[in-house]
């Protein structure tokens, strides 16, 4: 039987009149890191909670590890590791105690539980802190313990809901390393994030969710290409040459809005035409003071799909 580790068809969840997840389709491939990108309130956690059997869909179907999330929830639970967003870790227990408890909840015997706990503490670099209460851990340490808890039974599918939100850059990088390592070992990872860079760096394929709907899905590089040509911005050294410069540039692509004193075009054919542009300007004697090529980012993909910026939305959120 060849099944996708995660698939959803028309998956939907509403809370009263609010439709949090509005009929989404997903197919996650075996062994990939799938990034689920979206702003606050987009429906990321609601989707994850349905996929990990914590929330019943109000419409559609989904299966994880080949099992239906509604019909065979226990089979799903046995196959997956889950690190939820804001799921507290009992601060009065030690890391070691929690890992052993988690192992027993997954049906491991107590000797096996002890062995696995030691192994995982080592893996996430918490061996020394293992016998300290979680209440004394830093945010990064808690996140690593959370990951270790999710891995206790060697799951084939791992769900990480915003695993790096609120982490400092160093902790974020080490979390990325760990996720990559796990993926190399064959674990399929479903990762939600609000960070464009995280989706870009980690995920082989992404889905962008906004207002409960998936607005784009695919390989980030392809999605970026689809947005259109990269933007070429030029500042010329001598304003007398402005008309000459315009005449040259107009042959390379369409005009785009630019700041005063600059020119911008969508460079047809992308980065490989850069040299031609520079040569042509030079041939006409146009002095170039500044030149840059802006390839579309995932933010441009998001903006292309929704008309809003994701980065901006995040800044707003941090201020509120």
């Amino acid at each position: 039987m060849t099944t996708h580790p995660i698939s959803a068809h028309g998956l939907e969840r509403s809370f009263g009149t609010l439709v949090a997840v509005d009929g989404i389709d997903l197919e996650v491939e075996e062994g990939e890191i799938f990034g689920f990108l979206g702003p606050n309130g987009a429906g990321k956690s609601t989707t994850v909670r349905m996929l990990v059997t914590l929330l019943k869909p109000t419409g559609g179907t989904a299966s994880v590890a080949g099992y239906d999330v509604v019909e065979q929830p226990n089979m799903v639970r046995r196959s997956i590791g889950v690190a939820l967003q804001d799921a507290a870790i009992d601060p009065l227990m030690t890391g070691n105690e929690l890992l052993k408890l988690q192992a027993i909840l997954h049906g491991l015997g107590s000797r096996e539980a002890t062995r696995r706990s030691g192994e995982l503490l080592e893996r996430v670099g918490l061996t020394k802190a293992g016998n300290r209460r979680v209440g004394t851990y830093s945010g990064g340490m808690r996140r690593r313990l959370d990951l270790a808890l999710a891995l206790i039974h060697n799951p084939s599918v791992l769900f990480l809901d915003e695993p790096t939100t609120g982490l400092d850059p160093t902790s974020r990088l080490s979390m990325w390393e760990e996720v990559r390592a796990l993926n190399k070992e064959g674990t399929t990872v479903f990762l939600t994030t609000q960070y464009l860079e995280e989706a870009d760096q980690l995920a082989g394929r992404i889905a962008i969710i906004d207002g409960g709907r998936i607005v784009r899905q695919g390989d980030p590089a392809v999605l970026k290409d689809e947005v259109g040509d990269p933007t070429l911005r030029i500042e010329i050294g001598d304003s007398i040459m402005l008309d000459t410069a315009k005449a040259v540039l107009t042959t390379f692509g369409e005009w785009r809005p630019a700041r005063d004193g600059r020119l911008a075009i969508g460079l047809e054919g992308g980065a490989k035409r850069m040299a031609d542009v520079v040569r042509s300007l030079d041939a006409q004697g146009v002095p170039v003071a500044h030149i840059e090529l802006d390839t579309p980012s995932l933010d441009d993909v998001f903006s292309d799909a929704t008309g809003r910026r994701l980065e901006g939305a995040m800044v707003d959120d941090e201020e509120s």
Partner: protein, 272 residues
């Protein structure tokens, strides 16, 4: 999801389901005992306040024991023993509920539910943990009373019986808290229920014999089926009848509160 509730879910073939379910319930009970033990604010008052009240009352009412209608006791302290134990339970009974509500509120409950743990282990573990802890507190209280010269006429059997009744009562009363916790998921709502248990406690013969009360208050206080038989184990001696009466009444209360909890549990699993 209802079908999933009745089923122990972890089962790797080599290990017996029932055994796995037991291990899980035990591990969860252990966690709940450890967490309570490590937050002294949750249980120290339950030990200290009943002892202080006992000290004050037995000084205040020392002479009351000589009133003609007062039951034949060695001291007012001896009369107080069962009441103090029950009072301690009243203090601690809310903990099972508030701890569970806290787990629900902060997401630890979700962590459990996303694992293949047998659904009933989570409820049983929480309630058993509370019972064990209450039993332990009662033992400490009884030992302190014994040290201060309030004998338990029922002997070692009487002491064990008191601790057993205490544990059972913790389940029975705690079950209401657990139900409210499952229903509301709010520690504050759960907490706010528990002052009620004190009203019941004070409107009883816990601290004063009903023989010396009158009117409607006496009527209400006399309808107390747990404290009186437990007290008879302390002041008269061992009696199967008294033990059975206390246990039966407590079990009846437990049946009500636990079936309510279970309904709320199914509902929480269903609606989510």
């Amino acid at each position: 999801m209802t079908a999933a509730v009745g089923l122990p879910s972890t089962f790797d073939g080599s290990r017996h389901r029932f055994r796995v379910t037991l291990e899980q319930g035990f591990a969860l009970a252990k966690r709940s005992v450890l967490s309570t033990w490590r937050s002294p604010a949750a249980w120290v008052p339950g030990l200290v306040l009943p002892l202080m009240i006992a000290a004050v009352y037995s000084a205040q009412f020392a002479m009351a024991t000589q009133l003609p209608q007062f039951p034949p006791v060695d001291s007012f302290l001896q009369y107080m023993l069962p009441a103090s134990v029950l009072q301690s339970i009243a203090f601690g009974a809310g903990n099972a509920g508030t701890d569970l509500a806290t787990d629900i509120e902060n997401g630890f409950f979700d962590r459990l539910m996303a694992s293949p743990v047998a659904r009933q282990s989570v409820l049983v573990g929480r309630i058993m943990g509370a019972a064990v802890f209450s039993g332990f507190e009662s033992l400490v209280l009884v030992l302190v009373f014994l040290a201060f010269g309030a004998p338990v006429k029922g002997g070692v059997g009487g002491v064990i019986a008191i601790i057993f009744i205490a544990g059972l009562l913790a389940i029975a009363v705690g079950g209401f808290g657990v139900a409210v916790a499952l229903r509301t998921g709010s520690p504050e709502a759960t907490q706010s229920m528990f002052p009620l248990t004190f009203v019941f406690l004070f409107m009883s013969s816990a601290f004063f014999p009903t023989e010396l009360m009158n009117g409607w208050y006496q009527q209400v206080a006399q309808s107390n089926f747990i404290i009186d038989p437990t007290r008879r184990l302390v002041i008269y001696g061992w009696s199967w009848t008294d033990l059975l009466q206390a246990v039966a009444v407590t079990l009846a209360v437990a049946a009500v509160s636990l079936s309510w909890s279970y309904r709320m549990y199914l509902r929480r699993l269903e609606v989510k």
